[in-house]
Subunit: 214 residues, 2 copies
Protein backbone atom coordinates (compact mmCIF):
# COMPACT_ATOMS: atom_id res chain seq x y z
CA UNK A 1 0.00 0.00 0.00
CA UNK A 2 1.52 3.26 -1.12
CA UNK A 3 0.52 5.99 1.26
CA UNK A 4 1.48 9.60 1.59
CA UNK A 5 3.14 9.91 4.97
CA UNK A 6 1.78 13.41 5.39
CA UNK A 7 5.11 14.89 6.39
CA UNK A 8 8.49 15.47 4.83
CA UNK A 9 10.17 12.91 2.66
CA UNK A 10 11.30 9.97 4.74
CA UNK A 11 14.31 9.14 2.58
CA UNK A 12 17.61 9.97 4.15
CA UNK A 13 16.20 9.80 7.65
CA UNK A 14 18.41 8.08 10.19
CA UNK A 15 17.14 5.12 12.20
CA UNK A 16 17.02 7.32 15.28
CA UNK A 17 15.07 9.98 13.40
CA UNK A 18 12.55 7.44 12.21
CA UNK A 19 12.17 6.08 15.72
CA UNK A 20 11.50 9.55 17.10
CA UNK A 21 9.00 10.25 14.36
CA UNK A 22 7.31 6.91 15.07
CA UNK A 23 7.11 7.67 18.78
CA UNK A 24 5.50 11.06 18.12
CA UNK A 25 2.99 9.44 15.79
CA UNK A 26 2.13 6.69 18.23
CA UNK A 27 1.38 9.19 20.99
CA UNK A 28 -0.43 11.62 18.70
CA UNK A 29 -2.60 8.80 17.34
CA UNK A 30 -3.48 7.69 20.84
CA UNK A 31 -4.33 11.23 21.98
CA UNK A 32 -6.46 11.88 18.90
CA UNK A 33 -8.24 8.56 19.33
CA UNK A 34 -9.18 9.14 22.95
CA UNK A 35 -9.61 12.94 23.04
CA UNK A 36 -10.30 13.94 19.46
CA UNK A 37 -8.39 16.01 16.91
CA UNK A 38 -9.42 19.37 18.31
CA UNK A 39 -8.33 18.72 21.88
CA UNK A 40 -4.95 17.32 20.79
CA UNK A 41 -2.49 20.19 20.81
CA UNK A 42 1.29 20.50 20.52
CA UNK A 43 1.78 20.69 24.27
CA UNK A 44 -0.06 17.40 24.88
CA UNK A 45 1.79 15.58 22.10
CA UNK A 46 5.13 16.96 23.26
CA UNK A 47 4.64 15.91 26.88
CA UNK A 48 3.14 12.54 26.04
CA UNK A 49 5.93 11.59 23.62
CA UNK A 50 8.63 13.14 25.83
CA UNK A 51 10.11 15.36 23.12
CA UNK A 52 10.93 19.02 22.71
CA UNK A 53 8.86 21.55 20.82
CA UNK A 54 11.59 21.92 18.21
CA UNK A 55 11.70 18.15 17.66
CA UNK A 56 7.94 18.10 17.14
CA UNK A 57 8.00 20.95 14.63
CA UNK A 58 10.98 19.37 12.88
CA UNK A 59 8.96 16.23 12.07
CA UNK A 60 5.50 17.82 11.84
CA UNK A 61 5.66 21.51 10.98
CA UNK A 62 1.92 22.01 11.50
CA UNK A 63 -1.19 20.26 12.74
CA UNK A 64 -2.27 19.26 9.25
CA UNK A 65 0.93 17.32 8.64
CA UNK A 66 0.53 15.56 12.00
CA UNK A 67 -3.15 14.69 11.42
CA UNK A 68 -2.38 13.46 7.92
CA UNK A 69 0.34 11.17 9.27
CA UNK A 70 -2.05 9.89 11.96
CA UNK A 71 -4.66 9.10 9.30
CA UNK A 72 -2.04 7.08 7.43
CA UNK A 73 -0.97 5.40 10.66
CA UNK A 74 -4.52 4.36 11.51
CA UNK A 75 -5.19 3.37 7.88
CA UNK A 76 -2.17 1.05 7.85
CA UNK A 77 -3.51 -0.56 10.99
CA UNK A 78 -7.15 -0.94 9.88
CA UNK A 79 -6.44 -1.91 6.27
CA UNK A 80 -3.58 -4.17 7.36
CA UNK A 81 -5.96 -5.96 9.74
CA UNK A 82 -8.45 -6.52 6.93
CA UNK A 83 -5.69 -7.79 4.66
CA UNK A 84 -4.34 -10.21 7.24
CA UNK A 85 -4.30 -13.96 6.60
CA UNK A 86 -7.00 -14.40 9.17
CA UNK A 87 -9.63 -13.27 6.63
CA UNK A 88 -7.97 -14.83 3.57
CA UNK A 89 -9.20 -12.11 1.22
CA UNK A 90 -12.81 -12.23 2.41
CA UNK A 91 -13.80 -14.91 -0.06
CA UNK A 92 -16.13 -16.94 2.14
CA UNK A 93 -19.12 -16.09 4.27
CA UNK A 94 -17.15 -17.44 7.25
CA UNK A 95 -14.55 -14.71 6.81
CA UNK A 96 -17.27 -12.07 7.19
CA UNK A 97 -18.72 -13.87 10.19
CA UNK A 98 -15.27 -13.98 11.77
CA UNK A 99 -14.80 -10.29 11.04
CA UNK A 100 -18.06 -9.46 12.84
CA UNK A 101 -17.24 -11.85 15.69
CA UNK A 102 -13.89 -10.18 16.14
CA UNK A 103 -15.53 -6.92 17.19
CA UNK A 104 -18.32 -8.56 19.15
CA UNK A 105 -16.74 -11.49 20.97
CA UNK A 106 -13.07 -10.63 21.16
CA UNK A 107 -13.67 -8.21 23.98
CA UNK A 108 -11.99 -5.54 21.90
CA UNK A 109 -12.86 -2.27 23.56
CA UNK A 110 -15.45 -0.29 21.64
CA UNK A 111 -15.52 2.68 24.01
CA UNK A 112 -13.59 4.93 21.69
CA UNK A 113 -15.12 3.73 18.44
CA UNK A 114 -13.40 2.91 15.17
CA UNK A 115 -9.97 4.56 15.03
CA UNK A 116 -10.65 5.77 11.50
CA UNK A 117 -14.37 6.46 11.77
CA UNK A 118 -14.16 8.58 14.89
CA UNK A 119 -11.27 10.53 13.36
CA UNK A 120 -13.25 10.98 10.15
CA UNK A 121 -16.42 12.22 11.82
CA UNK A 122 -14.48 14.97 13.50
CA UNK A 123 -12.34 15.88 10.49
CA UNK A 124 -15.23 16.31 8.07
CA UNK A 125 -16.29 19.29 10.20
CA UNK A 126 -12.90 20.97 10.28
CA UNK A 127 -11.13 22.95 7.60
CA UNK A 128 -8.04 20.74 7.78
CA UNK A 129 -7.03 19.87 4.25
CA UNK A 130 -7.00 16.10 4.80
CA UNK A 131 -10.42 15.08 3.47
CA UNK A 132 -8.99 13.52 0.31
CA UNK A 133 -6.74 11.32 2.45
CA UNK A 134 -9.78 10.05 4.32
CA UNK A 135 -11.80 9.52 1.15
CA UNK A 136 -8.97 7.44 -0.31
CA UNK A 137 -8.59 5.29 2.81
CA UNK A 138 -12.30 4.48 3.02
CA UNK A 139 -12.36 3.70 -0.72
CA UNK A 140 -9.50 1.23 -0.16
CA UNK A 141 -11.41 -0.34 2.72
CA UNK A 142 -14.49 -0.75 0.54
CA UNK A 143 -12.30 -2.27 -2.20
CA UNK A 144 -11.10 -5.02 0.11
CA UNK A 145 -14.67 -6.24 0.69
CA UNK A 146 -15.80 -5.58 -2.88
CA UNK A 147 -12.90 -7.58 -4.36
CA UNK A 148 -13.57 -10.49 -2.02
CA UNK A 149 -17.26 -10.53 -2.87
CA UNK A 150 -16.50 -10.34 -6.59
CA UNK A 151 -14.26 -13.38 -6.29
CA UNK A 152 -17.06 -15.20 -4.46
CA UNK A 153 -19.37 -14.26 -7.29
CA UNK A 154 -16.90 -15.39 -9.95
CA UNK A 155 -16.61 -18.72 -8.16
CA UNK A 156 -20.40 -19.07 -8.06
CA UNK A 157 -20.61 -18.81 -4.28
CA UNK A 158 -22.42 -15.48 -4.29
CA UNK A 159 -25.60 -15.01 -6.27
CA UNK A 160 -25.31 -13.06 -9.51
CA UNK A 161 -27.95 -10.61 -8.28
CA UNK A 162 -25.72 -9.41 -5.43
CA UNK A 163 -23.93 -6.08 -5.88
CA UNK A 164 -20.48 -6.36 -4.28
CA UNK A 165 -19.94 -2.59 -4.09
CA UNK A 166 -23.28 -2.07 -2.33
CA UNK A 167 -22.70 -4.93 0.07
CA UNK A 168 -19.26 -3.52 0.88
CA UNK A 169 -20.88 -0.20 1.81
CA UNK A 170 -23.41 -2.05 3.95
CA UNK A 171 -20.69 -3.87 5.88
CA UNK A 172 -18.57 -0.81 6.64
CA UNK A 173 -21.63 1.31 7.47
CA UNK A 174 -22.86 -1.35 9.91
CA UNK A 175 -19.50 -1.30 11.64
CA UNK A 176 -19.26 2.50 11.75
CA UNK A 177 -22.85 3.10 12.83
CA UNK A 178 -22.82 0.20 15.27
CA UNK A 179 -19.59 1.51 16.81
CA UNK A 180 -21.08 4.95 17.33
CA UNK A 181 -24.24 3.55 18.94
CA UNK A 182 -22.16 1.23 21.14
CA UNK A 183 -20.08 4.18 22.31
CA UNK A 184 -23.19 6.19 23.14
CA UNK A 185 -24.92 3.28 24.92
CA UNK A 186 -21.68 2.08 26.56
CA UNK A 187 -22.86 -1.37 25.46
CA UNK A 188 -21.67 -3.62 22.65
CA UNK A 189 -25.24 -4.69 21.76
CA UNK A 190 -25.93 -2.14 18.98
CA UNK A 191 -22.61 -3.00 17.30
CA UNK A 192 -23.35 -6.72 17.57
CA UNK A 193 -26.85 -6.29 16.17
CA UNK A 194 -25.69 -4.14 13.27
CA UNK A 195 -22.78 -6.40 12.29
CA UNK A 196 -24.72 -9.64 12.57
CA UNK A 197 -27.60 -8.21 10.53
CA UNK A 198 -25.11 -7.19 7.81
CA UNK A 199 -23.57 -10.65 7.71
CA UNK A 200 -27.04 -12.21 7.69
CA UNK A 201 -28.00 -10.03 4.76
CA UNK A 202 -24.84 -11.08 2.95
CA UNK A 203 -25.51 -14.74 3.77
CA UNK A 204 -28.89 -14.48 2.03
CA UNK A 205 -26.96 -13.97 -1.22
CA UNK A 206 -24.68 -16.95 -0.82
CA UNK A 207 -25.41 -20.00 -2.93
CA UNK A 208 -25.40 -23.62 -1.84
CA UNK A 209 -21.91 -23.85 -3.40
CA UNK A 210 -20.61 -21.67 -0.58
CA UNK A 211 -22.23 -23.81 2.08
CA UNK A 212 -20.93 -26.98 0.44
CA UNK A 213 -17.40 -25.65 0.29
CA UNK A 214 -17.09 -24.60 3.90
CA UNK B 1 -41.60 13.97 25.13
CA UNK B 2 -40.32 15.26 28.45
CA UNK B 3 -36.85 16.60 27.97
CA UNK B 4 -34.44 18.39 30.23
CA UNK B 5 -33.87 21.77 28.62
CA UNK B 6 -30.29 21.82 29.84
CA UNK B 7 -30.53 25.34 31.15
CA UNK B 8 -32.45 27.21 33.82
CA UNK B 9 -36.09 26.58 34.52
CA UNK B 10 -38.22 27.95 31.71
CA UNK B 11 -41.24 28.77 33.87
CA UNK B 12 -41.77 32.45 34.38
CA UNK B 13 -39.83 33.35 31.24
CA UNK B 14 -41.43 36.12 29.20
CA UNK B 15 -42.34 35.58 25.56
CA UNK B 16 -39.47 37.83 24.54
CA UNK B 17 -37.07 35.91 26.76
CA UNK B 18 -38.15 32.60 25.23
CA UNK B 19 -37.75 34.03 21.75
CA UNK B 20 -34.20 35.20 22.53
CA UNK B 21 -33.35 31.84 24.02
CA UNK B 22 -34.78 30.13 20.94
CA UNK B 23 -32.75 32.33 18.62
CA UNK B 24 -29.54 31.56 20.49
CA UNK B 25 -30.31 27.85 20.35
CA UNK B 26 -31.08 27.91 16.65
CA UNK B 27 -27.78 29.58 15.82
CA UNK B 28 -25.78 27.45 18.24
CA UNK B 29 -27.33 24.28 16.81
CA UNK B 30 -26.44 25.37 13.29
CA UNK B 31 -22.86 26.25 14.23
CA UNK B 32 -22.35 22.99 16.09
CA UNK B 33 -23.83 21.03 13.19
CA UNK B 34 -21.58 22.58 10.56
CA UNK B 35 -18.38 23.25 12.57
CA UNK B 36 -18.55 20.88 15.51
CA UNK B 37 -18.87 21.36 19.25
CA UNK B 38 -15.25 22.23 19.83
CA UNK B 39 -15.03 25.00 17.24
CA UNK B 40 -18.27 26.63 18.42
CA UNK B 41 -17.32 29.26 21.00
CA UNK B 42 -19.18 32.08 22.75
CA UNK B 43 -17.93 34.69 20.31
CA UNK B 44 -19.28 32.80 17.27
CA UNK B 45 -22.66 32.15 18.89
CA UNK B 46 -22.92 35.75 20.06
CA UNK B 47 -22.16 37.21 16.64
CA UNK B 48 -24.29 34.73 14.74
CA UNK B 49 -27.36 35.24 16.95
CA UNK B 50 -26.78 39.00 17.24
CA UNK B 51 -26.81 39.11 21.02
CA UNK B 52 -24.57 40.44 23.77
CA UNK B 53 -22.21 38.38 25.87
CA UNK B 54 -24.29 39.03 28.99
CA UNK B 55 -27.45 37.86 27.21
CA UNK B 56 -25.70 34.64 26.20
CA UNK B 57 -24.44 33.94 29.71
CA UNK B 58 -27.86 34.80 31.12
CA UNK B 59 -29.50 31.99 29.15
CA UNK B 60 -26.58 29.60 29.01
CA UNK B 61 -24.12 30.14 31.86
CA UNK B 62 -21.59 27.66 30.43
CA UNK B 63 -20.86 25.55 27.37
CA UNK B 64 -22.33 22.43 28.94
CA UNK B 65 -25.73 24.07 29.40
CA UNK B 66 -25.66 25.26 25.78
CA UNK B 67 -24.62 21.87 24.38
CA UNK B 68 -27.25 20.11 26.48
CA UNK B 69 -29.94 22.42 25.13
CA UNK B 70 -28.71 21.83 21.57
CA UNK B 71 -28.90 18.06 22.11
CA UNK B 72 -32.53 18.49 23.22
CA UNK B 73 -33.20 20.80 20.28
CA UNK B 74 -31.85 18.27 17.77
CA UNK B 75 -33.56 15.41 19.57
CA UNK B 76 -36.95 17.13 19.34
CA UNK B 77 -36.35 17.54 15.63
CA UNK B 78 -35.15 13.99 14.89
CA UNK B 79 -37.57 12.19 17.22
CA UNK B 80 -40.43 14.46 16.11
CA UNK B 81 -39.69 13.57 12.49
CA UNK B 82 -39.83 9.87 13.30
CA UNK B 83 -43.08 10.35 15.22
CA UNK B 84 -44.73 12.29 12.41
CA UNK B 85 -47.87 10.99 10.69
CA UNK B 86 -45.85 10.30 7.60
CA UNK B 87 -44.52 7.08 9.16
CA UNK B 88 -47.69 6.19 11.09
CA UNK B 89 -45.81 4.54 13.93
CA UNK B 90 -43.58 2.42 11.69
CA UNK B 91 -46.03 -0.46 11.56
CA UNK B 92 -45.58 -1.48 7.93
CA UNK B 93 -42.58 -2.32 5.81
CA UNK B 94 -43.60 0.60 3.56
CA UNK B 95 -43.01 3.04 6.41
CA UNK B 96 -39.41 1.81 6.69
CA UNK B 97 -38.95 2.01 2.94
CA UNK B 98 -40.28 5.56 2.97
CA UNK B 99 -37.94 6.41 5.81
CA UNK B 100 -34.94 5.16 3.82
CA UNK B 101 -36.18 6.87 0.65
CA UNK B 102 -36.48 10.14 2.51
CA UNK B 103 -32.72 10.31 3.06
CA UNK B 104 -31.81 8.89 -0.32
CA UNK B 105 -34.22 10.48 -2.79
CA UNK B 106 -35.41 13.61 -1.08
CA UNK B 107 -32.22 15.42 -1.91
CA UNK B 108 -31.80 16.13 1.78
CA UNK B 109 -28.23 17.27 2.16
CA UNK B 110 -26.03 14.63 3.73
CA UNK B 111 -22.85 16.71 3.72
CA UNK B 112 -22.95 17.40 7.43
CA UNK B 113 -24.27 14.02 8.53
CA UNK B 114 -26.97 13.23 11.04
CA UNK B 115 -27.55 16.20 13.35
CA UNK B 116 -27.54 13.91 16.38
CA UNK B 117 -24.96 11.38 15.25
CA UNK B 118 -22.31 13.89 14.30
CA UNK B 119 -22.86 15.71 17.59
CA UNK B 120 -22.65 12.42 19.47
CA UNK B 121 -19.44 11.26 17.83
CA UNK B 122 -17.71 14.43 18.93
CA UNK B 123 -19.23 14.55 22.41
CA UNK B 124 -18.26 11.00 23.38
CA UNK B 125 -14.62 12.18 23.19
CA UNK B 126 -15.06 15.26 25.34
CA UNK B 127 -15.43 15.55 29.09
CA UNK B 128 -18.70 17.49 28.77
CA UNK B 129 -21.17 15.99 31.20
CA UNK B 130 -23.90 15.38 28.61
CA UNK B 131 -23.40 11.71 27.75
CA UNK B 132 -26.47 10.60 29.65
CA UNK B 133 -28.58 13.02 27.62
CA UNK B 134 -27.30 11.45 24.42
CA UNK B 135 -27.78 7.92 25.69
CA UNK B 136 -31.39 8.71 26.55
CA UNK B 137 -32.13 10.30 23.16
CA UNK B 138 -30.73 7.36 21.20
CA UNK B 139 -32.66 4.94 23.43
CA UNK B 140 -35.86 6.85 22.61
CA UNK B 141 -35.03 6.67 18.93
CA UNK B 142 -34.51 2.91 19.14
CA UNK B 143 -37.82 2.62 21.04
CA UNK B 144 -39.75 4.21 18.18
CA UNK B 145 -38.61 1.49 15.77
CA UNK B 146 -38.80 -1.30 18.33
CA UNK B 147 -42.38 -0.44 19.29
CA UNK B 148 -43.46 -0.31 15.64
CA UNK B 149 -41.85 -3.66 14.92
CA UNK B 150 -43.44 -5.21 18.00
CA UNK B 151 -46.85 -4.06 16.81
CA UNK B 152 -46.12 -5.61 13.40
CA UNK B 153 -45.20 -8.81 15.18
CA UNK B 154 -48.34 -8.74 17.34
CA UNK B 155 -50.41 -8.30 14.20
CA UNK B 156 -48.67 -11.25 12.57
CA UNK B 157 -47.00 -9.15 9.89
CA UNK B 158 -43.48 -9.72 11.19
CA UNK B 159 -42.16 -13.22 11.76
CA UNK B 160 -42.00 -14.39 15.37
CA UNK B 161 -38.27 -15.11 14.93
CA UNK B 162 -37.48 -11.42 14.37
CA UNK B 163 -36.00 -9.47 17.28
CA UNK B 164 -37.46 -5.94 17.21
CA UNK B 165 -34.76 -4.47 19.47
CA UNK B 166 -31.98 -5.89 17.29
CA UNK B 167 -33.63 -4.75 14.08
CA UNK B 168 -34.04 -1.26 15.55
CA UNK B 169 -30.29 -1.13 16.23
CA UNK B 170 -29.63 -2.30 12.69
CA UNK B 171 -31.76 0.48 11.20
CA UNK B 172 -30.23 3.32 13.20
CA UNK B 173 -26.69 1.97 12.73
CA UNK B 174 -27.23 1.78 8.96
CA UNK B 175 -28.31 5.41 8.94
CA UNK B 176 -25.47 6.60 11.18
CA UNK B 177 -22.75 4.60 9.44
CA UNK B 178 -24.12 5.34 5.98
CA UNK B 179 -24.23 9.06 6.80
CA UNK B 180 -20.62 9.06 7.90
CA UNK B 181 -19.46 7.22 4.77
CA UNK B 182 -21.53 9.54 2.56
CA UNK B 183 -19.93 12.57 4.19
CA UNK B 184 -16.46 11.15 3.64
CA UNK B 185 -17.14 10.13 0.04
CA UNK B 186 -19.18 13.29 -0.70
CA UNK B 187 -21.62 10.87 -2.33
CA UNK B 188 -24.98 9.59 -1.19
CA UNK B 189 -24.26 6.04 -2.46
CA UNK B 190 -22.95 4.52 0.81
CA UNK B 191 -25.95 5.88 2.72
CA UNK B 192 -28.34 4.55 0.08
CA UNK B 193 -26.68 1.12 0.08
CA UNK B 194 -26.68 0.86 3.88
CA UNK B 195 -30.29 1.98 4.32
CA UNK B 196 -31.68 -0.18 1.51
CA UNK B 197 -29.81 -3.23 2.80
CA UNK B 198 -31.29 -2.65 6.26
CA UNK B 199 -34.83 -2.39 4.87
CA UNK B 200 -34.20 -5.46 2.72
CA UNK B 201 -33.08 -7.38 5.78
CA UNK B 202 -36.20 -6.26 7.63
CA UNK B 203 -38.38 -7.21 4.66
CA UNK B 204 -37.03 -10.76 4.85
CA UNK B 205 -38.82 -11.07 8.21
CA UNK B 206 -42.18 -9.81 6.99
CA UNK B 207 -44.91 -12.37 6.48
CA UNK B 208 -47.32 -12.61 3.58
CA UNK B 209 -49.88 -10.88 5.82
CA UNK B 210 -47.85 -7.70 5.55
CA UNK B 211 -47.68 -7.90 1.78
CA UNK B 212 -51.42 -8.62 1.59
CA UNK B 213 -52.27 -5.66 3.76
CA UNK B 214 -50.27 -3.05 1.95
Amino acid sequence: MQMNDGSRDLRGRTGKGLATRGRILEHAADLIYTRGVHATNNELVRRSAGISGSQLSHYFPNKESLVRAVIDWQAESVLGFHRSERFAGFETIEAYQEWADFYVVSGRPFENGCSLGSLASEIVKTDLDVRDDLTRVFAEWQDIFRAGLERMQDAGRLDASADPAQLAHMLIAAYQGGSLLAQIARDVAPLRDALYAAVENLRAYTTSDDVART
